[in-house]
Symmetry: C2
Subunit: 282 residues, 2 copies
Amino acid sequence: MHEAEPLGIIAAGGRVPVQVARAAAKSGRACFVVGLEGLADRGIEAFPHAFVKWGQIGRVHDLLQQHGIRELVLIGAVDRRPDFGAIGVDLFALRLMPKIVKALTGGDDSVLVNLIGLFEEHGYAIVGAHEVDPDLVAEPGPVAGPAPNVPDDDARTAMEAAGAIGRLDIGQGAVALDRRVVALEAAEGTDAMLRRVGELRANGRLRWRGRKGVLAKRAKPQQDLRVDMPAIGPRTVDAAAEAGLAGIVIEAGRVMIAERDETVKRADATGTFILALGNGGS
Amino acid sequence: MHEAEPLGIIAAGGRVPVQVARAAAKSGRACFVVGLEGLADRGIEAFPHAFVKWGQIGRVHDLLQQHGIRELVLIGAVDRRPDFGAIGVDLFALRLMPKIVKALTGGDDSVLVNLIGLFEEHGYAIVGAHEVDPDLVAEPGPVAGPAPNVPDDDARTAMEAAGAIGRLDIGQGAVALDRRVVALEAAEGTDAMLRRVGELRANGRLRWRGRKGVLAKRAKPQQDLRVDMPAIGPRTVDAAAEAGLAGIVIEAGRVMIAERDETVKRADATGTFILALGNGGS
């Protein structure tokens, strides 16, 4: 990394961009945050910043040039595709329009993944948020909540299933219970999958007592972790607990723990373990 | 098969056992139907038959012996595990009780799969319902509804995904749309998965116009097709149509079409294609 230069942060939604800016500042590195209007958290205002609309790529380029930025983090949640009526296309963007439209509408990939190419073509290096703030990911071992049973067969089974659907580029999550995979995540997302598990228990299709079973979440092998990392957060913990699961297992170093303090707090409060597994399943 | 001897049919729920008895009769083979009380359709009364409770294995054995039966079909839906308060255990069953309890409660396998061993140990040969009534499965090619686009990328994508989760012994169904897998079936079952796809469309997480996308259903490689064949039926067609999918693709010879006449009628009425694919995807 070019540590001497300020770090550029393109901030979409949620608290994570603020956390990354804070981590940069703490490590003594200056940063400049470009917040996407309507998405970025107001917390970025504590740092040198500007707000832009989706289509103001030219303005983003100018701002980054003015601040001597060559290294960029693209981070934050994009819950919805931009409203094309309000993206505020500038002249620079107009020339790039075909590419931008493709980036913003292309398939199911993260919008940010599609933007990488645009920035790299203009000479920026994209770095992962977790490279700036290593606290965003977990070291192998227990992360929060009660001590998990290790080795846990459900954890292994769920991780294996999540790996299989990841290799097919389908999804990142799976739930196993009594060594059986009971739910696989595709387009519905992790929270919806966890609600389904709770419903299957409520209607008697799945039966267990107390807390049992594991949600596994891991990155797809081909996923660009610089801008598109799977994440868990406080809501994931609550959803797993409500479904009656015993815990959550994530891939060490490759799954983001958003709002870590709050996530750990929820895990402790609801008695839900979070365990990070290394490559060897350790 | 021992065609000269009468065929025994152990009938659980639904219309399929009646259809199998009819097919046997049509082929000139006598049959004797043992209906499980509370599950078997009254339609079996058109054939030589008796009703038994789950626990009356001794009586089943006697009935089969009396009718000189050596070949058995175990067929029909088992929506729920037996109520142990009302299984009517006889003396013969009492000796076998540990095995029976294991058979009726064992894991998530089909109850019928677990019963195979019990019958085989007593000298019966188990044959598949589709061997008696080949109309229960499909030849490769269009089965019903409008002409599908073949080769259909969604069909291929969904079949591949269903194959992958089948190899992991997780499930038998998948939905693909625009060459992307949007839903995978695990414990929730096919109908629930299809409802989910409809909901994802209704809430805007998936977007398409008209009818598009495919449900694939196929057998797991290790599935015992004699007694545990994946099935589609009229309800599957209606659920696929309600979800907005264009059609259903099944594995030729390895997926049962329950109530075929009604299934074809629903496919034609709702404009939903049903296509059977052979091993080569032909």
